[in-house]
């Protein structure tokens, strides 16, 4: 019995990254609430990070670049999550809803 | 699940039901809390989960038959309640009590008070999350229970006082045992002090928590250690001396702060004062009868209403008797101290955190069957 060494091919990582990206995009459009959108956004970022890491592993001459970038993405994502969530809470306080459409309608 | 906290979308508060079965309510008190996060917006105690119809039974039973009920109202200081009821009936029926019996009453009541305070101490620290002091306190309490059991025959719900006296006399082993116990407790008190009172965690949890002002205590009719913790120098034993309390030299511990720590300190100091009273009573104990010469067989108070208050472990316990001259009460009103003390919980806990409110509740020293009666 034998099995392909999946972990060793770049294309698989890229496909997974694309899948995460696609799912994330689908979620971003599909979700109604801000928190749902934020979650989908995190998925998109994760897809991008996987791409960085994969290129870093297989292609780049300097294998630290991708890791450093991913670290930065993590930092940004954490900051983004914190800010977005506090905005969501502020919005919730004002509109009693975290539904994006409700907020749009209630404008003004 | 989702929406768990939102009964009303326009409110950020939610309702939390504390009890009727909750470890911190010492029985079956239920408190409806309106909470904003962990802050209490409004608190409403819901009583009656152990309403046992004592007042109704007082009308159905003869004067003597009501005696066992007293011990079951406040099972922690049963003898104080016995005392209050017996003294009220004696006042109504004009029964004289021999001096030795009064001394025995004082000794046993004060022992009972110490045991009640010890249990409160343990249970209070248990509320705050410390388990071991409870067992140490129980250890000391067992000694008192042994002493009282040797006199009264029961461990908890004593039925020892009779109209005009007490049920049976004490012997020398009780006196030596009591003296030994006091010696032992005097040694243990510094240990409690070091283990609990001086503990920084406890101080942080009690200092400035649950303040009750003098005026608030007055408006709600709070008595006992709750009032004394708020700077009110009120103790029925000094205020309207009953029995033979006027013959003893003891102090009323009063703390001005009004916070939970003050109530805690009042009770801890009261243990010492009770020990002083017992020592003096044992020294002065007169010889003589423990029942009136002419045995009280049938109690029939004159028509009219009578009031008698005693200082129970939790405050002023009053008995209002309305007699129509028969061998049972026409109306028996039992004024229990914790009922009034608890009624201020709603106002006092407003704006507090949940754990602080529980510290406040513990510092009120609740005995639910006494509240519900």
């Amino acid at each position: 019995m034998s099995i392909p060494a999946f972990g060793d091919s770049l294309i698989i990582y890229l496909i997974i990254a694309a899948l995460l990206f696609g799912i994330g995009f689908y979620g971003l459009v599909h979700r109604r609430t801000f928190i749902g959108m934020l979650i989908a956004g995190e998925l998109i970022l994760a897809g991008a990070s996987i791409n960085f890491m994969a290129f870093n592993r297989f292609l780049a001459p300097d294998p630290t670049v991708g890791q450093v970038f991913t670290l930065f993405i993590m930092g940004i994502a954490a900051a983004e999550a914190a800010i977005a969530l506090s905005i969501i809470i502020a919005v919730y306080r004002n509109f009693r809803s975290i539904d994006a459409d409700d907020v749009a309608e209630l404008k003004g | 699940m989702n929406g768990l906290f939102q009964q009303d979308v326009n409110q950020e508060t939610f309702i939390l039901n504390l009890g009727p079965q909750h470890p911190a309510t010492h029985g079956v008190l239920r408190v409806k809390l309106e909470m904003d996060g962990e802050y209490i917006v409004d608190a409403e105690p819901v009583l009656g989960y152990i309403h046992r119809m004592h007042e109704k039974m007082g009308e159905n039973r003869t004067w003597a038959q009501f005696l066992p009920n007293c011990g079951r109202m406040d099972y922690l200081s049963a003898l104080s309640y016995n005392h209050g009821y017996v003294a009220a009936v004696e006042r109504a029926a004009g029964i004289e009590v021999p001096e030795r019996a009064e001394y025995l009453r004082v000794i046993t009541v004060e022992l009972n008070r110490i045991s009640s305070h010890l249990l409160w101490f343990g249970a209070f620290v248990l509320d705050l999350g410390g388990f071991t002091p409870l067992l140490y306190a129980f250890d000391d309490r067992e000694q008192i229970l042994d002493l009282l059991e040797s006199v009264t025959g029961s461990r908890l719900t004593y039925c020892y006082f009779r109209f005009g006296g007490v049920y049976n006399d004490i012997d020398d082993s009780f006196i030596t045992g009591t003296r030994e116990f006091i010696k032992r407790l005097r040694k243990r008190m510094p240990m409690y002090d070091a283990l609990v009172t001086k503990n920084i965690i406890l101080i942080k949890r009690l200092k400035d928590i649950g303040p009750i002002s003098k005026d608030m205590a007055r408006r709600y009719g709070a008595t006992g250690p709750v009032a004394r913790g708020s700077g009110i120098d009120f103790d029925v034993r000094k205020h309207e001396p009953y029995s033979v309390y006027s013959e003893f030299d003891f102090d009323i511990p009063v703390y001005e702060e009004g916070d939970s720590m003050a109530r805690y300190m009042v009770r801890m100091d009261e243990i010492e004062q009770s020990m002083r009273i017992i020592e003096q009573a044992l020294d002065k104990l007169p010889e003589g009868e423990i029942q009136p010469k002419k045995a009280v067989k049938l109690v029939k108070p004159e028509k009219g209403d009578y009031y008698h208050a005693v200082e129970a472990a939790r405050g002023s316990f009053g008995v209002r008797i309305v007699s129509d001259g028969t061998n049972s009460a026409y109306r028996l009103k039992l004024r229990s101290p914790t009922y009034s003390n608890l009624s201020l919980f709603g106002e006092a806990s407003r704006g507090m955190l949940l754990p602080d409110a529980l510290a406040l509740m513990g510092s009120l020293d609740l005995v639910i069957p006494e509240i519900d009666r």
């Binding site: 034998s2 997974i16 799912i23 995009f25 599909h30 890491m53 780049a60 993590m74 999550a81 | 939102q6």
Partner: protein
């Protein structure tokens, strides 16, 4: 191809498992009706992604992924769900044209396009590497080549903390209680 019952074969099996975890987590994250489950899905997905990083020879980043995403971001989101999710009514699907099939097909389209791109491109592996990409090297480059970005990130995080505090605290006092 490697034999199944060897270290490589087993690791390949585990890899499949990790991929499934990742994708499953992502699907739960976008498709569940309840937000709280979506967050759980997100956490599962991130655990999977951490596994992928491990396979990409970077255990350090795998652990950082766990620490930051699972331990911090997901927890924050759960908190937000607690604070601001009034109604458990259906989360997905409603009148807008972008919902349902359209968004799904858009997602499929993106996925297809990207993976086709990935498949079509002739990736040229680098001839030699400058360093081995180990933890020490990452640290070194963080403090040399990318020190500016490193500092900026810390600044961004600081601002994020302050901004989040300012935003979330406002309007809190009127309900009382907060000290």
């Amino acid at each position: 191809m490697v034999p199944l019952f060897s270290a490589e074969g087993l690791s390949s099996l585990v890899f499949i498992f990790i991929v499934i975890t990742t994708v499953l987590g992502a699907v739960i994250a976008t498709h569940s009706e309840r937000l709280i489950r979506a967050v759980t899905g997100l956490a599962i997905c991130f655990i999977g992604v951490a596994g992928l990083y491990y396979y990409l020879n970077s255990p350090f980043l795998a652990l950082m992924e766990m620490l930051i995403y699972v331990g911090a971001v997901c927890v924050t989101i759960v908190f937000a769900v607690m604070l601001a999710d009034p109604n458990p009514k259906s989360e997905v699907g409603k009148g807008s044209i972008f919902t349902g099939p359209l968004s799904f097909s858009l997602g499929i389209l993106l996925f297809w396009g990207l993976s086709a791109l990935a498949g079509k491109t002739a990736w040229i592996p680098s001839s030699g590497t400058i360093n081995d990409g180990s933890l020490e090297e990452v640290g070194r480059s963080l403090l040399t080549n990318y020190s500016m970005a490193f500092e900026l990130i810390s600044l961004v995080l600081l601002l994020a903390i302050i901004g989040a505090l300012v935003l979330a605290r406002r309007g809190r006092t009127q309900t009382g209680g907060e000290s």
